[in-house]
């Protein structure tokens, strides 16, 4: 085990991505994720990688498309308005079955919005975002260490399933400093060969083509069915969540990312005051841990769910679908870059949920 270090979320994400095999990064600056490209700009060269500060977000995602098509472990990062600009490219990457990693350090919207933390890109991240039938594997880490652990393996997952992987963070997660243990550098020369990559050499008569255009309806339909078979496999194997004090809980709080930590403190305060609360935290946002929610909802001790988000309510729709109406789901959110405190959630539970 290497030594513990104090790192900012953004910097830890960049370092963990490199240790996980990232060798190409293209991006365009935007607050609150600028430490990622800044770190990449010097660090990638130390490991023989390539860094491009592109002329726009659209260019950055298309550079990632190209690099991924050539077989590189490629990544881009941005924040909400920039991620919106990248949606066309992400859809093409999904259609061309290319692996890559995309970071979204979410800020308040719509429009240019603000620069403070938000979670209002949940729909965009989990339901597709760009045009067409596709999904990404989406993670919502809640600590700097969890960012490191997820990024370290994100390229393996992207390669294994040939899909884009998104990390959905927020401004707080990017700026916060915490102690982390960094894993060893992966040996990129020993990664499995990508038999589909357009490397321009030794392919003989079997030309490798990276493409997302399917004029024949039957061919496009079979691509879509193949992608969705893959998503079903991902749901089976990759779904992740954390349960905290849910065993005897009457009120189950649910939240993801940094808000889940605020909710965890709220659970502790509620418990100190004799209210049996617990926390169910999705770690993968797509695939959503629906089975876990239904299982918890079926417990006789559970009375209600309370979903907390930095939005007007987006993940709550997945929570409601998952619990199949077995238990009511309340919502408490803040928006615009405002962040709730644990005490705010406690107050909501006391006055609105337990009234």
């Amino acid at each position: 085990m290497s030594e513990k270090k104090l790192m900012k979320g953004n910097e830890a994400i960049a370092e963990a991505a490199i240790r996980g095999g990232c060798r190409f990064f293209a991006g365009y600056p935007i607050t609150p994720q600028n430490e990622i490209p800044e770190y990449m700009s010097w660090r990638l060269f130390e490991v023989g990688g390539q860094f491009v500060q592109s002329e726009s977000e659209v260019a950055a995602i298309n550079m990632v498309y190209g690099a991924a098509g050539a077989g590189a472990r490629a990544m881009t990062s941005s924040s909400s308005p920039g991620i919106s600009l990248k949606q066309e490219g992400i859809s093409y990457i999904a259609g061309a079955e290319l692996p890559c990693v995309i970071i979204n350090m979410v800020r308040g919207g719509p429009g240019l919005g603000g620069i403070q933390p938000a979670q209002s890109d949940y729909f965009q991240a989990t339901k597709g975002g760009g045009h067409g039938d596709y999904h990404m594997l989406v993670y919502g880490p809640s600590s700097v260490q969890e960012c490191v652990d997820i990024l370290y393996n994100a390229f393996d997952k992207a390669d294994e399933y040939r899909i884009p992987v998104m990390i959905l963070g927020d401004g707080m997660l990017g700026q916060i400093m915490e102690a982390v243990t960094l894993p060893e550098m992966k040996d990129v020369s020993k990664l499995p060969e990508k038999k589909w990559a357009a490397t321009g050499k030794n392919t003989g008569e079997n030309r490798r083509i990276i493409n997302s255009l399917y004029i024949e309806p039957d061919e496009l339909e079979s691509l879509n069915r193949k992608l969705f078979d893959r998503y079903a496999l991902i749901a089976e194997r990759e779904t992740k969540y954390e349960e905290y004090l849910c065993d005897d809980a009457e009120i189950v709080l649910t939240a993801y990312g940094t808000v889940a930590r605020i909710a965890k403190s709220a659970v502790n305060i509620l418990r100190e005051n004799g209210i049996k609360a617990g926390l169910l935290r999705p770690i993968t946002l797509y695939p959503f841990p629906s089975k876990a929610f239904l299982e918890v909802a079926n417990r006789p001790s559970v009375r209600r769910f309370v979903c907390s988000e930095l939005s007007m309510g987006q993940m709550i729709e997945d929570v409601k679908l998952a619990v199949e109406g077995k238990k009511p789901v309340d919502f408490y959110g803040r928006t615009g870059g405002n962040v709730m405190t644990p005490e705010d959630i406690v107050e909501f539970v006391r006055t609105e949920v337990l009234k």
Partner: protein, 174 residues
């Protein structure tokens, strides 16, 4: 658990004061979060950071009720004074703050940090003088741990270590 809010003007070393506490927590194998304010208000305006130190895991990095407030300027005292826990600690940089703490249920410490740092030879160490006073009154970490932390954090700039350790002791011995 110790929850600290540190606030002042941008450039007063408010964020780095918080980082010294965070590094000390790291070296002492405690869990810690350091969360800065970020955005346009930092340029010439106010800056603040929230530091939470705990034995095992820090859940919320957001602080509603700080155990300790370090107010490096007047707006910071006005903004955060009412939020401090009853029985908590407020450290005021009295070089820049003329107001007194109105609360009677907290411990108020006044540190003329700029003057003391100036006398010590480097006005830029005013934040470290305050750090020394904070460690004396909170007993969060022993003096030796903090002197060590200063050495480790400045390992790339060894020339500034003695001045910062001196500033720490001035605050610690108030």
């Amino acid at each position: 658990m110790e929850k600290i809010v540190i606030a002042g003007f941008g450039g007063q070393g408010v964020l780095s004061l918080g980082q010294f506490i965070a590094y000390a927590a790291l070296y002492e194998d405690k869990a810690v979060t350091w969360l800065p304010s970020y955005g346009p208000e930092m340029r010439g305006g106010t800056a603040n950071c929230s530091v939470v130190v705990d034995d095992e895991e820090v859940a919320s990095p957001i602080i509603a009720v700080p155990d300790t407030l370090i107010a490096m300027n007047t707006p910071s005292l006005l903004k955060f004074e009412d939020k401090v826990k009853s029985g908590g600690l407020i450290i005021v940089n009295s070089s820049l703050v003329d107001e007194k703490v109105k609360r009677t249920d907290v411990t108020a410490i006044y540190v003329p940090a700029n003057e003391l740092a100036h006398e010590a030879g480097n006005v830029r160490t005013a934040n470290i003088v305050v750090l020394g006073a904070y460690m004396k009154y909170s007993k969060l970490f022993p003096r030796e741990v903090m002197l060590n932390t200063i050495e480790k954090v400045f390992h790339a700039k060894p020339k500034v270590i003695p001045a910062n350790q001196k500033a720490f002791d001035i605050g610690y011995n108030l």
